[in-house]
Amino acid sequence: MFSSPITSWENVATYFTFSDSPTGIAISLAAAVGIYLFLNASIMKHEKESFDKHL
């Protein structure tokens, strides 16, 4: 993936992946939030299944 915002290390400041691409940042951040939310949903599902199995 061609995600580098720099072509050399001369006078570099911000240089992280997608730092020149708001879309890339948005997609990465949305995916991170999505994983966090999925974790919560997954735990709730696991709890329900576990409790149902033992009750």
Binding site: A13, Y15, F16, Y36, N40, E47, S50, F51, K53, H54
Partner: protein
């Protein structure tokens, strides 16, 4: 020496100074992880065998939800809300800002974000111990994220930010986070405990029963590990400035690690002595070390070490008494978190007002006063309690706060965790499992 040489030396010196700042907070953050290793051992030990791994799993996941949520919104809350509940522009702290990622020329943001995220994780772990053995993991992680990435850092913006209204209006002084971390987390836990209810069997005919930890030695070692981690925590509370300023507190007044060294150790020792004198019990005695440090943390830069010892001893002595009082009120705080963190944090903030009133703040900021500290302590307690009670009340009404009673009796490990803590020597789970007939999945 030529001008060019002087300029070159100056640039080299400034670069090394900035690197030293990074190195200092890097290791403070690393040492703070010891707090969580300690909480892990402490809570596993404090649980009964049937819940040991669930308590551990809860602890591991606490860190893993607070760190990202602190990145998503916690750092922004700290920077946006020093004036109260109306945000100011803090767009550089939003997660899509270019300041929130690797930048060769920014040697501060990331390392301070890391230290603050670990402070937040500590609040989550404080809650974690209080609610063991009956809270749903899903509910706990929601509460931990809110506490660790929103509630405490809002209090931090008010009482721990250079422009926080508690400082600018009242001269609030809380250098070691007695209020902004411990009181907030302790009172948040109290609010949750009131809705969560006691463990099955804890109260019989209104009398509190003793539910022994399955491994008191593990709990004691965990507590000592938390103490080790506190040196990273308190180190992270001091500001390593560039230039000629040197060390300052988070409020800008001069201090140094020597001041923290005197009073952290005297606080630990005093707390242990005080707790031993009023409890004679190892769990409370070891918790006394924590209670002592929390009691003196707010004035860690100001106290005469002898006074710090006395204050810590009083906090440590009162802590088990407060713990028993809370229990008599029908609140089942499995590890005494409300007494250790809530009470001692509150008490520590007030004691600064009693013994350090009239100390100046820098610039035009008001002096430290008893009334300012008292109001600050109340603000901290309410900032923790109100959301803790309110959000857990909603979860309770949704039947999403607590595990079903049958599950609690069986043990959470058996029901939720695909592993056993002591597979070759654990009688409790074996007994439960041996009640199953071959092929039978449900207990009769």
């Amino acid at each position: 020496m030529t001008v060019e040489t002087v300029e070159s030396l100056k640039a080299t010196f400034e670069m090394h100074q900035a690197m030293n700042v990074e190195v200092f907070y890097w290791w403070c953050t690393a040492i703070m992880f010891m707090i969580h290793a300690g909480f892990l051992a402490y809570e596993i030990g404090a649980s009964r065998v049937k819940n040991a791994l669930t308590s551990g799993m809860k602890n591991i996941l606490t860190l893993s939800v607070i760190i990202p949520t602190f990145y998503f919104f916690g750092w922004w809350i700290y920077n946006a809300f020093p004036n109260g509940l109306i945000p100011i522009d803090a767009s550089a702290a939003l997660p899509w800002s270019l300041s929130m990622g690797p930048d060769v020329q920014d040697m501060g943001t990331g390392i301070f974000f890391a230290a603050f995220a670990l402070f937040g994780a500590t609040t989550g772990s404080i809650l974690s111990g209080a609610v063991i053995e009956r809270i749903r993991l899903s509910a706990f992680l929601i509460l931990a994220a809110i506490l660790g990435s929103a509630v405490w850092i809002l209090a931090g913006a008010w009482g721990w930010h250079p422009d926080g209204w508690l400082l600018t209006e009242l001269g609030y002084h809380d250098v070691g986070a007695s209020g902004v971390v411990h009181a907030v987390a302790g009172f948040f836990a109290l609010g949750v405990l009131m809705n969560l209810g006691a463990r099955v069997g804890k109260f019989q005919n209104g009398v509190a029963m003793y539910i022994p930890p399955h491994s008191l030695p593990m709990a004691l070692i965990g507590l000592m590990m938390i103490i080790v981690g506190f040196f990273g925590f308190l180190g992270g509370c001091i500001i390593f400035n560039g230039g000629e300023t040197g060390w300052t507190t988070i409020y800008g007044n001069p201090t140094n690690l020597s001041a923290f060294g005197f009073n952290t150790l005297m606080g630990f020792a005093g707390g242990v002595v005080g707790a031993y004198l009023t409890s004679r019990e190892p769990f409370w005695t070891m918790s006394g070390g924590l209670a002592g440090i929390i009691t003196v943390a707010a004035g860690l830069d100001l106290y005469y070490p002898g006074l710090a010892f006395v204050l810590a001893a009083s906090g440590g002595a009162l802590m088990p008494i407060v713990g028993r009082m809370i229990e008599k009120m029908g609140v089942d705080d499995a590890v005494g978190a409300v007494a250790v963190h809530g009470f001692c944090g509150f008490y520590g903030v007030v004691m600064v007002g009693v013994f350090a009133a009239s100390y100046p703040n820098v610039g035009d900021l008001p002096d430290i006063t008893l009334s300012g500290q008292l109001i600050g302590a109340i603000v901290m307690a309410l900032t923790g309690f109100i959301p803790g009670w309110g959000i857990s009340y909603v979860l309770k009404k949704l039947n999403a706060l607590r595990v079903p009673p049958q599950v609690e009796v069986l043990g959470l490990d058996l029901v939720e965790i695909p592993a056993k803590p002591y597979p070759e020597s654990l009688p409790a789970q074996a007994i439960v499992e041996n009640t199953l007939e071959p092929g039978q999945e449900k207990l009769v």
